[in-house]
Symmetry: C2
Subunit: 424 residues, 2 copies
């Protein structure tokens, strides 16, 4: 079958904006070199995937007299008991009093939290609209923002590497009113973020809200909490934007998922939205895309949650990722990476180490460093892919989720070896 008509197609403005994600070249490199140890992949740990739990749950569901219902269409918004469970979970985590608890009507089930991000952004942003993101931020969301033609701006950071609300206020003050009206969203990574594994403090969030409130800018705030459940030892005490009174007057979208915390192959995420109109429009758009996440997966996850199979799985994952993080961290330490001028924090959750290389070093996709890494048999995500407005070249994201303990040790050595080759 011929694959080209030879006559170039005329695409929409959206179609024209779409480009290969920058990560694509890296992924192709990984595929071409199977012996490569990839600290770049977003895959989760294969060993701990809940094979038995899913088998038991499917068997249980499909033994019921009304089993056929699980294989029938569901609703566009998602299964009500699943939404109720998730609403309770988030309300508990945010210590919301009963009368302020999140309601199931405010929750929508999506194909991973990624879909909620895409829907939310498409109904908010026209080309040229401004969205503020952290630096660094979740790189696939940068693709979504570029996809709608948004103007991506960085939230400034202070010397402690916290969001600098005062500097943010100055940025807003430097805008004229037309530009301010184009600010359509603030995107925050609340917990054990991808890529930096940092957690925002309540103060960072409330200071940000204060700056917006003072200027009467009631901008939609998105908080991506995809990794909230994936702490190592202690859940974060910081409440999300749903739990903080100061956000009361802002339209808010909280994004969560059961994908990484349970089974990536099931890909069920969710979003809680405090603005009924915004939620409704996202649901209309979802109706056009798929009218509802596959019902069977939703039923599987609902049964997982209701039968108490989620907590043991989380417990296992937390320990597994903690151990893996320590292994990679220690491999890098032992190989002397700190002495080579590299810096990193030891994370308290999430799936990544976020490394800052010596100033002036270029670790970008096209860099000699990246090529040498591949020659040395190790792949990473260049940090600049995770940056919107101000792209710095000397950062690196290492994922410790997919590789085995032994592979992590070896990958750490290979990475440090590469770093050594670039130090004189």
């Amino acid at each position: 079958m011929k694959t080209e008509s030879g006559r170039p197609l005329s695409f929409s403005a959206c179609g024209e904006r779409l480009k290969a994600p920058e990560i694509t070249r890296l992924m192709a490199t990984a595929l071409a070199s199977p012996e490569l140890l990839s600290l770049a992949a977003g895959f989760t740990d294969n060993e701990t995937l809940p094979v038995e739990a899913v088998r038991e749950v499917v068997d249980k569901l499909l033994s019921r007299s009304d089993a056929a219902g699980y294989l029938q269409y569901g609703t566009n918004q998602g299964r009500l008991p699943l939404r109720e469970w998730l609403a309770r979970r988030v309300s508990d985590q945010d210590r919301l009093p009963k009368e302020q608890a999140i309601a199931a009507e405010q929750v929508m089930i999506t194909n991973g939290s990624q879909q909620a991000l895409a829907l939310a952004t498409q109904v908010l942003c026209d080309p040229g609209d401004i969205v503020f993101v952290e630096n660094p931020t979740y790189f696939v969301y940068l693709d979504v923002l570029r996809g709608v033609g948004a103007d991506v701006r960085d939230l400034p950071r202070d010397a402690e590497n916290r969001i600098d609300a005062e500097a943010f206020g100055q940025i807003l003050d430097a805008m004229d009113s037309a530009e301010r009206r184009r600010v359509k969203a603030i995107y925050l990574l609340g917990y054990f973020s991808n890529p930096a594994s940092t957690t925002l403090t309540e103060k960072e969030k409330t200071d940000l809200a204060a700056v917006l409130r003072e200027r009467e800018m009631w901008v939609p705030v998105l908080e991506d909490a995809a990794y909230r459940e994936l702490y190592f030892e202690e859940a974060s005490e910081e409440r999300s934007i749903l739990g903080l009174d100061t956000f009361h007057d802002f339209p808010r979208l909280y994004l969560g998922t059961l994908t990484k915390p349970f089974a990536t192959g099931l890909k069920v995420g969710f979003a809680c939205c405090t603005d009924a109109d915004w939620l409704q429009r996202m649901l209309y758009l979802k109706g056009q895309h798929d009218f509802g996440t596959a019902h069977f997966q939703q039923a599987i996850l609902e049964e997982v949650l209701e039968s108490g199979r989620y907590e043991p799985q989380l417990k296992l994952l937390r320990k597994t990722y903690f151990d893996k993080m320590r292994t990679l961290h220690e491999a890098l330490l032992e190989a002397g990476l700190r002495e080579l001028g590299w810096k990193w924090e030891v994370p308290e959750g999430g799936l990544y180490l976020w490394l800052e290389g010596p100033r002036g070093l270029d670790t970008g996709v096209e860099s000699e460093f990246c090529r040498r890494g591949v020659e040395n048999g190790v792949l990473y995500v260049p940090g600049d892919l995770c940056m919107g407005e101000n792209r710095e070249k000397n950062f690196v994201r290492l994922s410790f989720a997919a590789l085995s303990q032994e592979q992590l040790r070896e990958a750490g050595r290979r990475f440090a070896k590469t770093a050594r080759e670039f130090t004189q």
Copy 2:
């Protein structure tokens, strides 16, 4: 949790265009009246859903030593063996010689074929762009088109109710060159269409291609074949746009699904695209939406296909829907609907009866007829919801998929009773 900030949000142009689907009011009516027999619902037959097959397949998959892989992320484009199977299936159905067979690289797996429709349209159409559709057409696709702001135009029909290529040529000739350039797609329902249950002949398709070719308009052609497998007794001999030489130079997208023909709760569809650039852009956009349909569902369906469980299920469905169609058809006949001036063809596949009421009768969403139907305990889809440019009021879609035999008989009687009340 408060659901409104009280301050109206500013949405994107896309967000502003989104409205409640016209069908929503009907669905609310159905929910509010549980005793209502709904001939409107798009649900499939519950009794025949393949509970045992899915249970066996999941058990088999999750017993393998590499079972965890099925619960891990897959790829954005979809599982290769699944795409290979689907490429072979469509190539066989279209009697393509081996050297012209569809390749797995040309296939993408989607969240139902609906997602492929949405992706295809978003990368092609800007507001004001023209898309030609059949009259009637698939009503959810009309929502997608309105969502991107497209200008929906009808393909004209001749006295035999076939696509009138000559009249289509005249429509194109009446356009100036700027307007012609805005024609971005032709959307066809190839087989046992929703809602009219008609199948396009090869002649209709090739005549349409000839009209475009004569004018050197190499417009993308979409053929929605969602119901191709759901014939009653004989598969259609008509080849799709993939199998017809005359479409060789057109960018083509063929849409199929395993959702309605196997299990609606699994929601896996696919598209075959002959234009590599178009496909790539759809995949980039899918990457932003979900980076791949849930891997576990894909694995389930792949195993269903490879283990020979699909054909027996199809055989069962074909017989079930044939019987249900005959029951509803006969109930309407016996209740004397033909004598009341109503006309319909007996379909050879699909899930719908498409009825034409007496000229001048209004059966639309807001009509007295529709209200009386609800009072009489029966709901249908008003035909005008399935029409783009020229909306006629005296058509009705009746779905025979979800109700039982007995319910279909009763629903048919109630519908005919309503029709009688509107005949003097």
